[in-house]
Symmetry: C2
Subunit: 461 residues, 2 copies
C-alpha cells in the first residue's frame, strides 16, 4: 500500500495528540499538522499562572516546541498555515500560507479536524478597544502580560465568573490589581455549582478583595488612544478600569466543517461517534470543536476541557491512521469531572448539578454536608463541603460538588469510577477508603455524604 | 414480643458501633456493652499523635464518654466488666465485675463478640521490664506518655517497622528522643510495600534521624529498678535505651469464642459470613477478632484496621437486632486500602503486593512510575511514586502502592472502586479525572501508571 497522507488541522491540544497517535499507529503515514498561529502543543490551562508571573517565560508553557514535536513525534508541523476549505470528495484541502498569502490545494487521504473554539465576545459598543482581551490562545496570554507590564493598571474588569474568570481574578490580584467580576447569569462558577454551594466561593473571592457584580456590561468607554477607561453595566453603573478580560465561554469553530457538509450536533458543536468519526468517511474530529457523550444519561454535551481534547485527539488519531487494522479506539464519554483552585479553595464538580439533573429528566434530590479533610481534631484539619445529587428512585449518584482547602479535588476523582459504574449512594457509603489521622478521617467526608444521601432516599437494592 | 436482650462484648471500635446500630435497628431491645477496661469508643489510631503531644489530653481521643454513649446511643455501658464464658445453648454469659471480683451469670438472647486483638509480644528474656510497652489500648498510650514525661528518655527502641512502629518512631522524634527501629523481616512497611517501593520510606525515615536495623531483639537487659537499659539483638548488637515500644502486630482474641464452640478460620481469627454470623445461631462477631473477605480473590484475610471494625460492627449490630425484619446488612469485603503518614511522606496501599498476588495464584506483573502531584512545572508540585500490580492475562488491577508528599493517599482511594469493579488498567487509563494546574496534572500520575501498565500487558477487551 502507498503511504497514506493525513492532515491534522489545529495545533493546541487535540491536534498534536491526534498527529502523534496517528504516526504511532501507522509509522509509514505522512502526517502533517497545520496551525494558523505561531505555537503548538501548549498548556492553555496554565496561562492564568503565567500572567500571575508564577511562570515568567511563556516558553515554559510549551509542552513541545514545533521542532521538538517533529523530532519526537515524527509528524510535519506547518505553522502559520490556515486551512480555508475541505473538499472531501476529491480528498483535497485549500491551505493558505498566512505569511505570504499564497493559497494552495493539497491532497490528503484522511483529515482530522481539531479546529477548537473561539471566545464568546460581548456584542457591545467599544468592544474593539485595544485593552480588551479574551484568554484563549497563547498570544492572548502574552499580550495580557505585556500590557500589564507596560501600563499602570489599577483596576480590571473580568467579564464572566466561570473557571477562567475566577482564575484571572486571582492572577490579577496577585499582581496587585483591583478586580471586579461581572457575572450576570447567577453566582460564580454557576455552570458547576448549585446555588447552595456558591456562597463558599463568593466568600473566598470577596475575602481576597474581588468585587462581584450580578451585572452585564452594556457599553465600553474608550479614551483618545482607543483604550478602555470604563465599562457601563445594565444597572447603570460605570466602572473605571484600565483592562478588561473577557471570559464568557467558548463557541466551537464549525464553519470549515459545515461548508464541507459535516453534521453539527444539538449543542452546536460537530457531531461525532465514539470513534470520533464525522458523517464523512475520511474525516475525523476531536477537541474543543466536537460534542461528546455524557455517560450519566448518554446525552451529547459540549465540554471544552483539556483532558477531553487530549483523549479525543488520541482516539481520532488512532482511528484515522489504522486502515482497518487492530481494534478501533473508542472515546469513553465524559463524567463532567472538573476542578479549579480559587485562591485558597479547591472547587471540584463531577456529573450533574441538581437543576441540570432535573432538566435532563431525573427525579433528583440533593444532600449537602460539611466534613473534615483529616480527623477533625487533628492539627491542620480543614472543612470540606460536599453536595451529592441523587436519583430518588434508584439511589444512583448523578453528580457531586466539593469545596474545601484540602483534598476536595482528589475526592471528586474517587467518584468518577463510581459514576461510570452507576453506583448508588448506598454502595458508595460502604467504600473502604483509606484512614489515617493526618490524611483522612475514619469515615471520610465522601462516605458521610453518602450516608446522609442514603438516609434521604432510603436504602436501595 | 418481649424485648430482646443483646450483649456486646468489647468497647473500643466495633463494639460501640454494633451496640449503637443494634439499638437503632430495634429501639425496644435491651443492649448492654461490656468493656473490661476504663474507656470505650476511642480513636486508637490517634494514640501516636497523643504521645507526640499533638493532642495534650487523652480525653480528646474519646469519641464518646460512656455517659455520652449511653445518652445518645441508648445502650447500657458496663465498664470494668469482663466476660469469662459464653453458654450459647442456655443463652447465658458469665460476667466478672473486675472491681469487686464477683462473677455472675446473665441471660441474653443475642451475643455480639467484639473482643478485639492483643499485641504480639516478643518471647524473650526480660520482656516483663516496666518500660517495655505495646501500643494497643488507651491505657498503653497514657502509660507511654507518662513515662516519657517522668523519665529522661534519650534513646528508644521500636520493635517492628509496620504502621504503628513507623508512627511511633515519628512521635518519639518529635519529642526529641533518638530512635532505633528493629525490623527483622524485611524493609519498613513490608506488609504494604514491595521491596522496590520501600527505599522511598527508608530514605525519609533515615533523613529524620531514625536508625533502622534488620535485626531481631533476643534479650532485654534490665537495671536494678526493673527498667530496660539495653536491647541485645540476634546480630550481637547491644543497643542502650530507656524505652522500648513493641509494635510487632496483633493476635486476634479467640479464647472466649473457641471455648463456646465458635469456629476459627484459616487466618486464626473468628470465621464469620458476610452478615457477621458465626457458626452459632445467636452469636455474631466483628472487629479485630474476625477475618474478612478480600474482594480481589474472595480469600479470607485478617485485617485489623479501624474502618473494618466500624463497618463490621455496624453490620453485626443490625443483623443481631433485626429479628428477621428488613433486609440483612452485608459486609462488602475489603480492598485492603490503608495509608500512613511517615514524617513528610504519604504512603498508601490498596489490594495486593506483587509477591502477595503471586502467592495467591495470580500470574502478575508490576509497573512503577514517578509522576507529579500537580502540573510538573507548577510551583509546589511534588513527586509521587506509583506501583501497579496487574494480572498479566486479563490486565486487571490487583493492587497499587503510592508514595508522595501530596495526594498519594487520596489517589489510592480512586483505585478502591476500580478494584471492586475488577477494572483493567486499560479502563483506568481512560478515567476522566480532574485537571487544574495547581491541583493535578493534565494526565494524572494514576493515569500515567495505567498507561505504562497497559503497555506492559497489552490492551485487553
Amino acid at each position: 500500500m502507498a503511504p497514506q497522507r493525513i492532515a491534522v488541522i489545529g495545533g493546541v491540544a487535540a491536534g498534536p495528540a491526534a498527529a502523534a497517535q496517528a504516526k504511532r499507529t501507522d509509522p509509514d503515514a505522512d502526517v502533517v499538522l497545520f496551525e494558523q498561529g505561531e505555537f503548538i502543543s501548549y498548556g492553555a490551562c496554565e496561562m492564568p499562572y503565567y500572567i500571575a508571573d508564577e511562570y515568567q517565560d511563556a516558553g515554559t508553557l510549551l509542552v513541545l516546541t514545533p521542532e521538538e514535536f517533529e523530532k519526537t513525534r515524527h509528524a510535519t508541523v506547518r505553522l502559520r498555515h490556515q486551512v480555508l476549505a475541505i473538499h472531501p470528495k476529491r480528498d483535497r484541502i485549500d491551505i493558505k500560507d498566512v505569511t505570504t498569502g499564497v493559497v494552495r490545494e493539497e491532497r490528503f487521504d484522511k483529515i482530522i479536524l481539531a479546529v477548537g473554539a473561539r471566545p464568546r465576545m460581548p456584542e457591545i459598543e467599544g468592544v474593539e478597544a485595544l485593552n480588551i482581551f479574551p484568554l484563549r490562545r497563547l498570544d492572548d496570554a502574552i499580550a495580557i502580560k505585556a500590557f500589564l507590564e507596560n501600563h499602570p493598571v489599577q483596576h480590571a474588569v473580568v467579564m464572566g465568573g466561570g473557571y477562567i474568570g475566577v482564575e484571572m481574578a486571582e492572577s490579577l490580584r496577585e499582581r496587585g490589581v483591583r478586580v471586579t467580576i461581572l457575572e450576570p447569569f447567577g453566582g460564580l462558577l454557576n455552570k458547576y455549582l448549585d446555588p447552595e454551594m456558591q456562597p463558599f466561593v463568593h466568600e473566598e473571592v470577596a475575602a481576597h478583595g474581588v468585587h462581584i457584580r450580578k451585572e452585564k456590561a452594556e457599553q465600553v468607554e474608550q479614551d483618545a488612544d482607543g483604550l478602555v477607561r470604563a465599562v457601563k453595566t445594565d444597572k447603570g453603573e460605570k466602572i473605571g478600569c484600565q483592562l478588561v478580560i473577557v471570559a464568557m465561554g467558548l463557541v466551537p469553530n464549525t464553519d470549515l466543517a459545515k461548508a464541507a457538509g459535516i453534521h453539527i450536533g444539538e449543542t452546536g458543536a460537530l457531531a461525532v461517534d465514539d470513534q470520533m468519526r464525522t458523517n464523512l468517511p475520511s474525516v475525523w474530529a476531536c477537541g474543543d470543536c466536537v460534542e461528546v457523550e455524557r455517560v450519566i444519561d448518554r446525552k451529547q454535551v459540549y465540554l471544552p476541557l483539556s483532558p477531553v481534547a487530549y483523549r479525543s485527539g488520541h482516539v481520532a488519531g488512532q482511528n484515522a491512521a489504522r486502515r482497518g487494522r487492530g481494534t478501533a479506539a473508542r472515546f469513553p464519554g465524559v463524567c463532567m469531572a472538573s476542578a479549579v483552585q480559587v485562591f485558597g479553595l479547591e472547587v471540584a464538580a463531577v456529573g450533574l448539578r441538581l437543576e441540570e439533573a432535573r432538566k435532563a429528566g431525573f427525579d433528583a434530590v440533593a444532600v449537602q454536608i460539611k466534613g473534615w479533610s483529616r480527623v477533625k481534631i487533628y492539627p491542620g484539619s480543614k472543612p470540606i463541603h460536599i453536595r451529592y445529587v441523587v436519583e430518588r428512585k434508584s439511589g444512583r449518584l448523578l453528580g457531586a460538588e466539593l469545596i474545601g482547602q484540602e483534598g476536595a479535588a482528589l475526592r471528586a476523582d474517587v467518584l468518577v469510577p463510581c459514576i461510570r459504574e452507576g453506583w448508588t449512594v448506598d454502595a458508595i457509603k460502604d467504600l473502604d477508603l483509606i484512614y489515617a489521622p493526618p490524611l483522612a478521617p475514619s469515615i471520610d467526608p465522601l462516605l458521610r455524604a453518602a450516608h446522609a444521601a442514603t438516609k434521604k432516599v432510603g436504602r436501595k437494592g
